[in-house]
Symmetry: C2
Subunit: 428 residues, 2 copies
């Protein structure tokens, strides 16, 4: 299916027509609260921060809690023991373009980044530089910096444009023969800029470095194709476009051919070979399980599995095509309606260079965010002066995007955002 931005995005009828032809329209009713049709309904454009709850999830979680734990008790470990790799396999094949046995679900994105960065550094002895992007998500930069420091390596932060993302030529210059590993987000959290996964992987390989890709903002929103792109290592989050729930366990990917040569710095019993032998010495498990650590979070894994299943069923190509068309609509409407009020596009204008969200800049972005929420539009604020709009193609319609932009225009026209505090609350 070919999704395009409605012909005349300024007309709501065009958005309605796009929805009428949406092959993914049926998925909307699979998410709680997403199929509200009231004019004053909540317009949730924060699927890139916390995805909506699939309607199946409560029953799946209840079954795990009441039946498997409550009745099955410790005997249920016979089915839970492989859950982290089983959910990983479904994610690998259904969403990531990877093979079974290459993805493990568990721990947080932060902990997984930590594991793979250390493993990558171990695999490049003699190289003394960790490369990261100066505008990457905080936890990525913090982990890169602290891992580099603890290993006595230099951290090389490649500057990036807050709006346009990383310049590949600038990055290429940073990938010299001292570079052990590059840590980079596939889609930039602030601007939504989409990095060239295959191209940068190739660049790094030519320089002899490994790349740890952070797929948190791309998994479920744009094609990832880890296998075809030649990617070696990746981590990512499941509570955004995969709709796995708040604080859902993250995932890690290690290309099969590399697994045997890499070791996790966190040698736990769930990464050990013959785990229940409880032997005297840690021997890593053979496959992707060696990157496990402690007991996997069973409730969280069950919820992730639901979200992964729905995403795979919808198909990442359709989701990405629809997401791109919605992004184009946001850009067109922002140009027409919001730019006169000083709103500036803070994402790449070329849709081929954008992930699933579009970011807008305005000096009063914090107040605008509050005013939008008061009007039933949920975006999120990002420093220093950005409003992120993240439609989720699984459950966001074109008219939802249109109506959200219409309310945004109204806020600006009436200047109602100026009634909200200019000083930021500590927790957003």
């Amino acid at each position: 299916m070919h999704y395009t931005c409605p012909v005349d995005p300024l007309e709501r009828a065009a958005a309605e027509a796009a929805d009428a032809h949406d092959e993914l329209a049926g998925f909307r009713s699979r998410f709680a609260g997403a199929d509200d049709d009231a004019p004053d309904r909540l317009l949730y454009l924060d699927g890139n921060s916390l995805g909506r709850m699939p309607r199946e999830t409560p029953a799946v979680v209840a079954r795990v809690v009441e039946q498997e734990w409550g009745r099955g008790l410790v005997g249920s470990w016979s089915s839970w023991i492989g859950l982290a790799t089983e959910v990983g396999d479904r994610l690998a094949e259904g969403v990531l373009g990877a093979r079974p046995g290459e993805v493990l679900v568990g721990d947080s994105t932060t902990v997984n980044l930590f594991k793979l960065l250390h493993a990558a550094i171990d695999a490049r002895p003699g190289r003394d530089v960790v490369v990261c992007c100066a505008d990457d998500f905080p936890t990525d930069r913090y982990v890169a910096a602290s891992v580099a420091r603890s290993r006595g390596l230099e951290l090389r932060e490649v500057p990036a444009d807050l709006d346009a993302g990383l310049d590949t030529d600038v990055l290429a210059a940073a990938l010299d023969d001292r570079a052990a590993v590059l840590l980079l987000s596939h889609v930039a959290y602030r601007s939504g800029a989409l990095a060239d996964l295959a191209g940068i992987t190739r660049l790094a390989r030519e320089a002899g470095a490994l790349v740890v890709w952070d797929l948190s903002h791309s998994v479920g929103s744009v094609p990832v194709e880890l296998g075809a792109s030649g990617a070696d290592l990746a981590v990512g989050c499941t509570y955004k476009y995969l709709n796995g729930g708040p604080g859902a366990p993250a995932f890690l990917y290690v290309r099969r051919e590399l697994q045997e040569s890499l070791r996790s710095p966190i040698a736990g019993w769930f990464g050990a070979r013959d785990q229940f032998e409880m032997g005297p010495v840690y021997e890593p498990a053979e496959g992707i399980e060696r990157f496990g650590a402690g007991t996997p979070p069973v409730l969280g894994l069950a919820a992730v599995d639901v979200g992964v299943g729905i995403t795979a069923e919808a198909g990442i190509d359709r989701l990405a095509a629809k997401g791109r068309a919605q992004g184009e609509m946001i850009v067109a409407l922002a140009d027409a309606w919001l730019a006169p009020h000083g709103v500036v596009l803070a994402s790449p204008r070329d849709p081929a260079r954008r992930g699933g969200h579009v970011t807008l800049a305005h000096p009063q972005a914090w107040q605008l965010t509050q005013a939008l929420i008061a009007r039933g539009v949920v975006p999120d604020f990002r420093t220093p002066d950005r409003v992120r709009l993240g439609p989720a193609p699984l459950y966001t319609r074109f008219v939802d995007v249109w109506d959200a932009m219409d309310r945004f225009r109204e806020v600006l026209t009436t200047r109602e955002h100026e009634r909200f505090p200019a000083e930021r609350a500590r927790v957003t």
Copy 2:
């Protein structure tokens, strides 16, 4: 209340009498499946591996999933943001004898061990030995060994008797001026041997070393009293006696006075000061939050909170007293009924030196475990030849223990365990 082993443990009536006077009897009905009175009911003596499900838990989890996530969406982060410390505070005050702001719930026991071991080593520069117990739980030994190796330190494994646990004099000799940190389980996973928390903490302090206590097998079953004992660092599991659910998030404890001087090796955004400033450089948060890493597992935290609440309500002193009396009953019945069949006590005989479980050794322990499960008694097998019996005072009655031992005797008398495979399955 004073619990004692029933006067004549060989008589079931004595067990019934003990139950009739049990102040904790009312807690039994708060756990799914625990108040079955049928003669052929399941006798679950594996509360030290996976605790039973509190009846409140499904509704609490459902509320978090359906209301907070499903309806509240990303806005619910205003209440989730403090959950890891709030549940930690309830655990600190209600169960651990610690102060608010000293306990954080999240990550796995393995990851928390990893964090605190690195932090402790950093705090003892110039010292080059990590001390652990040669019979400690695998993940503890594996983490200690790999952390020591990665830091270029020596691992000193103190030998321990598989039945009696660690000899304090042997341990004292290992705590010399090279020792940076000792990692030790408060209750030994195999034998149930109880270590002297205050005494060993003092020994280590006199030697200039820190102790990371693993409370996985003691939290919820014996008094811990972290504050009074002077303990500096601890981690522990919440899915055993705390009934937090399969793979529930673990906890870590850092004495308040030490927090400012310690840093987590995993510098994640949930451990950063002013997290949503997303600043260029990682600055650790001020309190226990600095030991956080990635986004906390909200569903798991909600389930842990229920288990912590019930444990605190029952009171650790009563739970420990009842558990000790039940342990004495197991020992008395094993002596009388099982010893003639070659079963040997593999836990300290002195109840003051035991935690909440009692371990029995027999050359056919694996077959006995299978036969017991077939008879509706759930113990667990531990290498090389052990059967662990872990009554949980919150929901195990004296008659449940009596009946379990009676079935154990029947298995041995009829030799029905010999009909089960002698070769161990890989997953137990």
